[in-house]
């Protein structure tokens, strides 16, 4: 029941928010986001870490004629992502409280987004998953479209059509699976798993391709990433945060939840290709990031690089990689959230994102720069920060899988360090110039947002155990199923 | 008795001539008259079939076609006159102001 509450509370709240005036609306939105956080924490404590099956599950009939049910539930993998969402949402909302006033519709969309995201992470029915997947797209599209920057109409439409194309392929794959379910056709996750595994190899490959396309566009993996930097740049802060911190994870989550268990044979066969794509993406994005002049764009490319690493780790299909991916998802979400916020703070104060114009902020805003350092180090994966755990596990798994791939993927740390430190140097250190001379330091709101981020980065980096425990059972279960099946095929 | 094929040929020919007229002429009234010719070709064939099948329903259907034709003519000519009032022309090629 709590899951249902988690999904529908923001939904109802979003309708309510529309009806009230501006000051109250943002307050209401924030309260709801906090309430969600509380609920999810309660759930995390009540979560049975040993169990592999979904917990807190609800199973209602919905569209009986199509075999679609409203069934949601939370297992270890979901739990982490739900936590990520609920943790970040208050932050995102809080970040908008700063000094820009957004109309109630903005908060309505935010809450809608949260609802959809949680829906995606908890859906235990193929169709429901798809619906939430698409629904999650709409609010963020409008957030970017309405409150975005220059050229937003064209760029956001590109983003929308890209993702929609991917998800349509996913839909086709889902329908394909649906028709292969036994007995009365159903979209139930278990029957879809069975259906997928019952497929022949070529059919599996088809399903794999369709799913992978959808997820790859969402993440985004190398050749499908072209929408991403533009969109990140043009989107408003909150849009960028949503996209990068949470929506990216939808793709990865999709791979874990839907791609690997459904078509293990195809994954076994073609996972390597995906992995190589991801690794290419890492190097490519990192290289581009190095030459970026635009601060926000740089972060965007860095995000591609990191996500590439996660994807590559996933397709190693061993326990370390999986767990690394899980923890890195959290870490990346938190870090990138903080990064973008800092970019926005600087942009707000200097009205520029051009790295060559910035510099010397450390002199005028020490707090800002120290927070930036911590978060940046998290991104660079310095030990004792959250990034380190994840990247270590991931590269480890890649090396186990194939040394050369691991080596190339390892470049991410080096290149990441290069561009991040360069950025720090350009933005923070050096002499203040006229643009940056009068930059004020963090204010109350910003500190309220950024301090928890810093704390989280450090806490996860130091003590990731509980989080890893949450997902361990589910990951093990997944891998055991996979290895059984791929072995049996071979 | 005349073979039914003859009637089929005849009405096909008339029908095609009607279609030809619709495509060929630019005068809206004549285009419209050619549509009437098409309907008449249909009527003729219908009556022929009805007669050959010895089934009165075909001829009854022709009544409905006639009623409809009459109604269509009334409405069509009224619209045509309305159009003529506005454009002072009955040239159907004038009807191309509506473009995207």
């Amino acid at each position: 029941m709590l899951t249902v509450l988690l999904i529908f509370l923001p939904l109802l709240a979003s309708a309510t928010v529309l009806l009230v005036k501006q000051p109250l609306s943002k307050f209401l939105a924030f309260v709801v986001a906090l309430a969600e956080l509380v609920i999810s924490i309660i759930m995390a404590f009540g979560f049975d870490k040993t169990q592999t099956a979904a917990q807190f599950s609800v199973h209602w009939q919905w569209i009986s004629s199509l075999g679609v049910n409203f069934s949601v539930g939370i297992d270890g993998i979901s739990m982490l992502l739900v936590l990520l969402t609920t943790v970040l949402m208050p932050g995102i909302i809080l970040s908008s409280l700063n000094n820009t006033t957004k109309p109630p519709s903005f908060y309505a969309l935010m809450l809608l987004m949260q609802s959809a995201l949680i829906g995606v992470f908890t859906a235990m029915d193929g169709f429901l998953f798809y619906i939430f997947w698409e629904v999650a797209l709409i609010p963020v599209y409008f957030i970017c479209l309405v409150w975005g920057g220059e050229n937003r109409g064209r760029i956001t439409l590109k983003f929308f059509i890209y993702t929609l194309t991917g998800s349509l392929f996913m839909l086709v794959a889902l329908i394909f699976l649906y028709f292969h379910t036994a007995g009365k056709h159903s979209f139930d996750i278990q029957s879809l798993y069975l259906a997928g595994r019952g497929l022949g190899e070529s059919q599996q490959v088809f399903v794999f391709c369709a799913f992978f396309l959808a997820f790859a566009i969402k993440m985004p993996v190398f050749p499908f990433h072209t929408w991403q930097p533009d969109t990140y740049t043009v989107a408003p802060l909150q849009g960028t945060m949503l996209l990068s911190a949470i929506m990216l994870k939808m793709g990865i989550y999709g791979v874990i939840r839907w791609l690997i268990p459904v078509v293990p044979v195809a994954v076994n066969k073609w996972g390597e290709v995906a992995m190589i794509l991801a690794v290419i993406g890492i190097v490519y994005a990192s290289c581009i990031a190095i030459v970026q002049k635009d601060f926000k764009r740089l972060i965007a490319y860095s995000s591609i690089a990191h996500v590439g690493l996660i994807a590559a780790g996933l397709f190693t299909l061993n326990r370390i990689g999986m767990q690394g991916a899980m923890i890195q998802m959290l870490s990346h979400g938190i870090v990138v959230f903080g990064m973008f916020y800092i970019v926005e703070i600087i942009f707000e104060r200097t009205k520029t994102r051009d790295l060559s114009q910035l510099g010397g902020i450390r002199n005028v805003a020490p707090l800002l720069s120290s927070v930036f350092i911590v978060i940046m180090l998290g991104s660079v994966a310095l030990p004792l920060t959250s990034g380190f755990i994840g990247e270590f596990l991931l590269i480890n798994s890649l090396v186990q899988y194939q040394v050369w791939i691991g080596a190339v993927a390892g470049l991410t740390i080096i290149l990441g360090a290069v561009y991040m430190l360069r950025t720090f140097q350009k933005v923070m250190s050096g002499e203040s110039n006229p643009v940056t001379a009068l930059v004020p330091d963090l204010n109350y709101h910003e500190r309220l947002v950024l301090y928890p981020v810093v704390i989280l980065v450090l806490v996860i980096g130091v003590y990731p155990g509980p989080l890893l425990n949450i997902s361990e059972a589910a990951v093990n279960n997944l891998l055991s199923i996979y290895s059984d099946l791929s072995a049996s095929v071979k | 008795m005349i073979p039914i094929e003859n009637y089929i040929w005849l009405s096909t020919a008339l029908f095609t001539i009607g279609v030809l007229g619709v495509l060929f002429r630019r005068n809206a009234i004549i285009v419209f008259a050619c549509i009437e010719l098409m309907l008449n070709a249909v009527n003729l064939l219908m009556v022929a079939f009805s007669s050959y099948l010895n089934d009165a329903t075909g001829q009854v259907f022709v009544f409905f076609i006639m009623a409809v034709a009459a109604a269509e003519v009334a409405v069509g000519l009224a619209i045509l006159v309305m159009m003529y009032r506005n454009t002072k022309s009955v040239d159907i090629d004038i009807l191309n102001r509506l473009k995207g």
Partner: protein
Amino acid sequence: MTLYAFYFLSFVAIFSALLVVFSKNPVYSVLYLIITFFAIAGHYILLNAQFLAVVHVIVYAGAIMVLFLYVIMLLNLNEESEPHKNTMVKIAAVFSSGLLLLVLIGSLRGASQLVHKTGGEIGLVQNLGQVLFGEFLFPFEVASILLLAAMVGVVMVGKDEEKNAND
């Protein structure tokens, strides 16, 4: 005898139908169409459908074509005001309708297997009435709606707008 009549009427029908299309003067076109209609009425009589023949004459020749002529005269259309299509369009029109004819002919061959059932009394008023007011009562009644709609429509299109309508 009837066959000759058939050929004669068919010739008249097709010939004047062609003239409908190719006459320059709209009035001639309409008059040729009337001739076509009479030829078709003749066919009806050959087919033993006298009632329909007369109704055909009354409706088409007596009412519909009069309306056509009426409008042509009202708008004073003649040869001079006749718009001309360019040659390409004409060729295209002839070509496409020729194609249609070919398609129709090709697919209509082999109709001779249809067996002629004797009787021949169905064209009489009594029989038609039985069918019309028996089985086809509903369409008959519905046709009144159709005519009503047409009537209202024509009045609406034809009547001048009432200026300064109050409500």
